[in-house]
Amino acid sequence: MFKFIKVFIRNYIIAFISFLPLLTFDKNLLGNDTLIPIQYKKTIQDNGLRVIMVEHHEFPVVAVELLVKAGSVHDSQGKEGLANLVAQLLREGTHAKDSLEIAEEIDFIGGTLNAYGEYDSTSITATALAKHFPLILNLISEVTRFPSFQPKELEFHRGKTVTSILREKDNKMSIAARNFSEMLYGIHPYAHPPIGTVEGLKSITRNDIEEFHRNHFLPNNAILTIVGDINTTEIVAAVKETFSTWKKENITETPLPPIPRIDGYTIRIINKPDLTQTEIHVGHPGINRTDPDYFSTLLFSYILGKGPTSRLYTKLRAEKGLTYSATSLFDARNLQGPFLIRTYSKNESAIQTLRLVLDELQKITSKGITNEELDSAKSYYVGHFPLSIETSSQIASRIIEQEFYGLPEGYLEKYLVNIQSVSIEDVNRTIKRVLDPRNLVIVLVSKAEDIQADAKALGEVEVKEP
């Protein structure tokens, strides 16, 4: 009934050595007998619940995550923040326990229990010493399946979340992030962060919450992962016993509007007169997680703006001293998540900094990257791989990613070969396809009068209050 997949890291790294002519691999990097083999086991329960178990015996700990394939992208219009509010309320009472009893139970064993809504999914996570595994498995099952959504708890979280959103206006990065998403996505639900909007939260009813929970929190819409100092054969029974009464239902797909196109520079200044440093966000919709050029994108994004050797860092920080940090990233989601460059500089040099960002973007798009840069980026990802699968949670998150996005089976095993097989032609072709330096959203959070005149030289500027 289950499918067995054995992953011996040692073996697969060695197996791919012939693909790595550019690298000075040696015995130590490739691992030897001392490397712990990592084994994961995948099962699908009768009710459709996918279960992944990873044994990792180095420390007596366990991490459990239940992922539900429903996130803020499923918030109905006018109810922005619904998915996250549902997640927040899970821990605040079930048919058998109240909020304090749940908190006391998890706190007493020194464990953690969290629930949060993301764009595409909701996660309920728990960690504890391995001997408390039955307790956290039961707790996860209980809060996920039997929340009571008491009106008192709903009002508590509604109030707290509304204040959190209002508080964003005290922080230039949060202001920029919210404006950036709005400008990028328009009427698409990626326009609002999972936490939602004040108006959306105010209009959510207990009925909306129960309905969202009923429609999405289903075994055939969920993935359960258990990682740590556990014995898979022993826990299979525990999982079955705990979750077998969870009933399968039909899942209704939510139709989504298309992601809008950006036309030219769309520039917005958010006026916050106390600021001495300007927050700068620049970008456009990026790629989805299953994009065939995902690895090419990973590599050129590293070259452009990841870490202390990137082009943006070198130009803006190391050479010019204009900023403390300048980064770029692709947040690849189910659909096209954003491509974002983030930096900041004192108001006097903010537009100069922005212009340099635009130059770098133009330069990489028109001229591409060099072989040397590509080799360096590959070395980073290949060498960094063992560092990124050191703990149980790190391993788990990679396996969840593979499962959730429906990446090809064996994706993790082929990770290094996928990195290595990218050619410079692949990267330069991908850059031209994915980057669009002429059509950008530009958000500046600053004291408007300090930067407005210079910003106007770039195009039409909208000035807004936070």
Partner: protein, 448 residues
């Protein structure tokens, strides 16, 4: 003959610390120490579960070693360490590490400065060569100082001038301390960042960046014998000049409550209440940590329940217990006090909770819960070589013993409800208290 010299220096100290703690978990940490003739200390923690190592260099210098005029130099200097040395061009250090599949960075605290690279274990020698080069032959030039000074000023604007917590924290230490260098922030005052000179940097380098003032911690997949020979090869010939004399400015005992209001562009006030406490190895620290945990950690904690959940007074709450080289603060911080409430109200609730601790013993269940939380968090943190190295470094810098953090677990075991009551009475007095409030500017404008 290298072999012989290794043998005679081999492993001055080998420690295997085994401890069964209250959660019933067995913790084993193996640590070997080797000291070079020039005073450099090398700590090795072997773990072959992944082919990687964390290579860390710890210098015993932080903002507490500064004086007004050059505040922030320790941190600015940390940046300068990436700006090139005799055999490494500016910014090349990180480039080389990344090219070899590693990551690197550094951080500065009040008490020390640490540099680390996490990389494939086969690259041990590379890390040693790069770190030795900048310990001995850093290139300090006017040009790099100018550009890095600007970078650090941007960092200050980010972390302090345009950050609510940054402002609150700077205000708290500036008020609670009058003499001791803990009164200024690690990043330094803006006016000093403007004026620190190349000569200041050179003097700072010569004084503190010496083998005798440093320790190397290597955690992960390595062989101690080979590691010692590599470290001897690259660091053995470095010399330590006459050791500087550490100047300590003890903080006079606070004799009355201090208060400060900071007006900021925020819609929601913040509050910090700090009490002076002793340094890391004092016997009262574990009881204070348990107490802080009982008050603020987890949704079932006393103050979360009262302040956040029942009274809906604020969004967040946390407690920090400084474990520093010199005496620091026990602080409760309340973030984003909601419109329905006021800093005064939050302060009253906190004071009541502290008074309650003086009058009534906490329950055994609360102590056990606090111990479980602290121990479990520690065990989770020990999963990576990097964090294990960090924990050892923090302990070493603050107490001289890299395994202090494990021994602390025994001290939590021994702490009783009576100890918690005793420390509450001893430290949570009005005259030992400093209260700092971050107040929305707009409120003051509206007043007549």
């Amino acid at each position: 003959m290298v072999r012989t010299s290794i043998v005679c220096y081999l492993i001055l100290l080998s420690l295997l610390l085994c401890m069964r703690i209250s959660t019933g978990t067995q913790i084993e940490i193996d640590l070997k120490e080797h000291r070079l003739k020039n005073g450099l200390r090398l700590f090795m923690h072997e773990d072959h579960s992944s082919p990687i190592i964390s290579f860390q260099v710890w210098y015993h210098v932080g903002s507490m070693d500064e004086r007004p005029g050059i505040t922030g130099i320790s941190h600015l200097f940390e940046h300068m360490m990436f700006k090139g040395s005799k055999n490494v061009k500016p910014e090349e250090h990180s480039r080389i590490i990344q090219l070899n599949g590693g990551t690197d960075n550094a951080f500065t605290t009040k008490d020390f400065t640490a540099y680390f690279q996490n990389l494939p274990s086969s690259k041990l020698e590379l890390a040693a060569r790069l770190e030795a080069d900048r310990m001995e032959h850093l290139q300090l030039t006017k040009e790099t100082l100018l550009s890095e000074r600007d970078v650090v000023k941007e960092e200050r604007r980010l972390r302090v001038d345009n950050s609510l917590f940054g402002k609150l924290n700077e205000g708290l230490y500036d008020t609670a301390f009058l003499v001791h260098p803990y009164r200024w922030p690690v990043i330094g005052w803006m006016s000093d960042l403007e004026t620190i000179s190349l000569d200041d940097c050179k003097t700072f380098y010569q004084t503190y960046y010496t083998p005798g003032n440093a320790a190397i911690i290597i955690a992960g997949d390595m062989d101690p014998g080979n590691t010692i020979s590599v470290i001897e090869k690259y660091f053995g010939s470095l010399s330590t000049p006459v050791r500087f004399k550490e100047v300590i400015h003890p903080e006079p005992v606070q004799s009355q409550q201090r208060q400060k209001e900071i007006f900021a562009d925020t819609q929601f006030p913040w509050l910090a209440i700090g009490y002076h406490i002793p340094d890391t190895d004092d016997d009262d620290i574990p009881a204070l940590e348990l107490l802080g945990n009982i008050l603020t950690v987890g949704r079932s904690s006393r103050l979360y329940r009262k302040l956040i959940y029942e009274e809906k007074a604020a969004l967040s709450l946390f407690c920090s217990v400084d474990k520093n080289r010199n005496p620091g603060l026990f602080t409760i911080t309340v973030g984003s006090i909601r419109k329905e409430s006021t800093p005064k109200f939050a302060e009253t609730i906190i004071n009541e909770s502290l008074e309650e601790l003086k009058k009534e013993l906490v329950t055994e269940r609360e102590i056990e819960k606090a111990r479980n939380k602290i121990e479990t968090e520690l065990i989770f943190g020990l999963q990576t070589n990097f964090v294990r190295g960090l924990r050892m470094g923090f302990s070493m810098e603050r107490t001289g013993d890299p395994l202090w953090f494990i021994k602390d677990l025994e001290r939590y075991e021994r702490s009783t409800a009576e100890d918690i009551q005793r420390v509450a009475k001893k430290y949570f007095t009005q005259k030992n208290r400093t209260v700092v409030r971050l107040i929305p500017k707009k409120e003051t404008r509206e007043e007549p």
